[in-house]
């Protein structure tokens, strides 16, 4: 007689083989390098900055890049290089925390909807569709105007508006996985529904969740930038990438003082491209048929 060991038949690739696939793909490597560089410099802002955050120096306004101010100064004489670093720290903080929170919401709701199905699923799907179809920024705007724009409020607002992507992915996976034999095996052992959902099925969904999480981070960075551009984001005293870029609203700045807005814009763009490359790479590794011929 064969030993009936309970093995998890995973239709998706476990995280370990994911990493192996990762190192072979140049797209992923480039993307990861970019992200790591930017994130690391933002984290180490205190070490790398040359000036204090938000330090005003009215004697040196609108200076082009020079030896003391590597990336020039803005209208209040603040050092752009340091502002960029500190701004990165705030922006990334907001984006990462929000994305994580959004992912948690999406995962929990998605797991419930996917596993329980029927009415619960129908209700949650309708709800997510409604929120999803509403133009993202408008929704964010309305919520922000209600609660006010502080860093922590933004985190919550973004989390509440970005969970839908993860929700759909997790729900989809759960719907297909719940029919797999290992779930039946778990059920026959008398495991509780919650245990089955979180201990048995969820680990199989880890890879797509990672992809959704990374995209969430990029989306929120861009949304925060857009919000600040409209003047409705974090108050200017706390630097964020969006705040810095918003300076370009003034025609004068736009025309004459390129260093004030080009670098934040480029950094946001590169970060976003990096995340997208990583997400693409992860997706290709997960589903090799989809990418190449």
């Amino acid at each position: 007689m064969r030993n009936e060991k309970q093995t998890t038949t995973t239709p998706l690739r476990p995280l370990k083989s994911l990493f192996r696939g990762v190192t072979r793909d140049w797209v992923l490597i480039v993307g990861t390098v970019v992200i790591v560089l930017i994130a690391a410099s933002a984290l180490a802002a205190d070490l790398l900055a040359t000036h204090e955050m938000g330090r005003v120096n009215l004697l040196a306004t609108n200076q082009p890049p020079s030896g003391t101010h590597w990336l020039g100064t803005d209208a209040l004489g603040r050092d752009m290089y340091s502002q960029l670093l500190y701004g990165g720290r705030t922006s990334l903080y907001v984006a990462v925390v929000s994305a994580k929170l959004a992912t948690v919401i999406g995962v929990v709701l998605g797991a419930i909807a996917g596993y329980l199905g029927r009415y619960v699923d129908a209700a949650l799907m309708r709800f997510s569709e409604l929120v999803l179809a509403f133009p993202y920024l408008i929704l964010v705007l309305i919520l922000v105007s209600v609660v006010g724009a502080s860093v922590n409020n933004l985190v919550i607002v973004f989390a509440l508006t970005t969970w839908m992507g993860t929700f759909r992915i997790v729900r989809g996976e759960f719907m297909s996985l719940k029919h797999e034999p290992f779930v039946d095996a778990a059920r026959t052992q008398g495991l509780s529904t919650a245990r089955i959902i979180f201990r048995q099925i969820l680990p199989n969904v880890a890879s797509p969740i990672l992809v959704a999480l990374s995209i969430g981070v990029a989306t929120i960075v861009l949304a925060e930038a857009a919000l600040s551009f409209l003047g409705l984001g974090v108050p200017v005293t706390t630097a964020t990438w969006g705040n810095l870029l918003a300076a370009a609203q003034s025609k004068e700045v736009l025309r004459n003082y390129w260093w004030i807005w080009v670098t934040p814009g480029l950094v946001i763009s590169f970060f976003s491209i990096g995340v997208n490359l990583v997400a693409d790479g992860l997706r290709d590794v997960l589903d090799p048929q989809s990418a190449k011929q």
Binding site: A133, F134, L141, I142, A225, A226, L230, S290, Q293
Partner: protein
């Protein structure tokens, strides 16, 4: 086919009603006295006049009746008055909607044609130069914030080269559409650039999926020309999934692209929403939100129609 559409239409109407109810009761929850946005501000002079008005507008009636009266008014086109400017909201919308439609229509057309076209052609020879370039463009389109792109465009074309205006929809002296046509170029280019990326990707992936299907092998086994294999078989089956994205773009564009409108000072729905939110002009916020929500519902319904037309299997449900 008819039963299918009628059913979907009913759902559409029900959901629209639900949204209108949501909007109505939300406004009433706000601390603003209904009279301030239901009545023409010029008519509210003395307290007695106000009470008269209140009675005339039925503000003393049960809330349910008030809801239906309001709904009736809305369907007639009477949206109430703006708290900020005192103008009838209907008038404000009448000014803003054409601007947004201009922007939205052109952007939709341009981004769809380019996005879907490039995506389909990339799938013909995957891995070659055209495909590689289009994939890079797609990533950039998706990742770069659209207003950064817009800023660069302004810097380049308006300031450095001086070819186009840096913003605004029409200047005094612009009589016909063609006079102010150049103003539309930069906003549309900015908006469209942000949208093509996802379309290119999605279409390309859809087409690549289809190319590997068995019925394409059947088509080739008939000795049909490759161009016919692609046009008649691959492309027709590839656009289905793409339709979903396309149709949901419409409400996006109706809501107005908030960023682009702010950047180019384009007086459309998007900038209206932003300004009404910042000035707490609740009635305007609510009405415009309702507009957007209904647009979404209509878009969803149209999606169902298209799907039924394109894929005969759906009609059977």
């Amino acid at each position: 086919m008819q039963r299918f559409l009628v059913r979907k239409l009913l759902v559409l109407i029900l959901m629209a009603l639900a949204i209108s109810a949501l909007v109505f009761f939300s406004i009433r929850l706000s601390p603003v006295d209904p009279i301030s946005y239901l009545a023409d501000p010029d008519s509210a002079i003395s307290k007695d006049k106000l009470d008269e008005l209140r009675a005339a507008l039925g503000l003393n009636d049960p809330i349910i009746i008030q809801y239906f009266r309001w709904l009736f008014e809305v369907l007639r086109g009477n949206f109430g008055y703006s708290l900020m400017t005192g103008q009838p909201i209907a008038n404000i919308l009448a000014q803003r909607v054409p601007a947004t439609l201009e922007l939205a229509g052109l952007t939709f057309f341009l981004s769809t044609v380019i996005g879907v076209g490039v995506g389909l052609f990339s799938a013909i020879k995957p891995g070659r130069i055209f495909d590689s370039i289009s994939r890079i463009v797609a990533v950039i389109s998706i990742a770069v914030p659209e207003f950064f792109f817009g800023i660069i465009l302004i810097q380049l074309f308006a300031y450095q080269l001086g070819w186009l205006n840096p913003g605004g929809r029409e200047l005094p002296g612009d009589a016909t559409f063609w006079d102010r046509a150049p103003n539309v170029i930069l906003p549309v280019a900015t908006l469209a650039f942000g949208l093509v990326g996802a379309l290119i990707r999605y279409t390309r992936n859809s087409a690549l999926d289809v190319v590997n299907k068995d019925y394409i092998r059947t088509a080739r086994s008939k000795g049909v020309r490759e161009s016919q294999v692609y046009i008649g078989h691959v492309f027709r089956n590839s656009v289905g999934p793409v339709l979903v994205i396309l149709v949901f773009r419409i409400p996006l564009l109706i809501g107005g692209s908030v960023i682009v409108e702010a950047l180019f000072q384009w007086p459309g729905m998007g900038s209206l929403i932003v300004s009404s939110i910042t000035s707490s002009d609740y009635p305007v916020v609510m009405i415009t939100s309702m507009f957007v929500a209904v647009a979404i519902l209509v878009a969803s319904f149209m999606l169902d129609i298209f799907k039924a037309l394109a894929d005969p299997r759906v009609r059977m449900e």
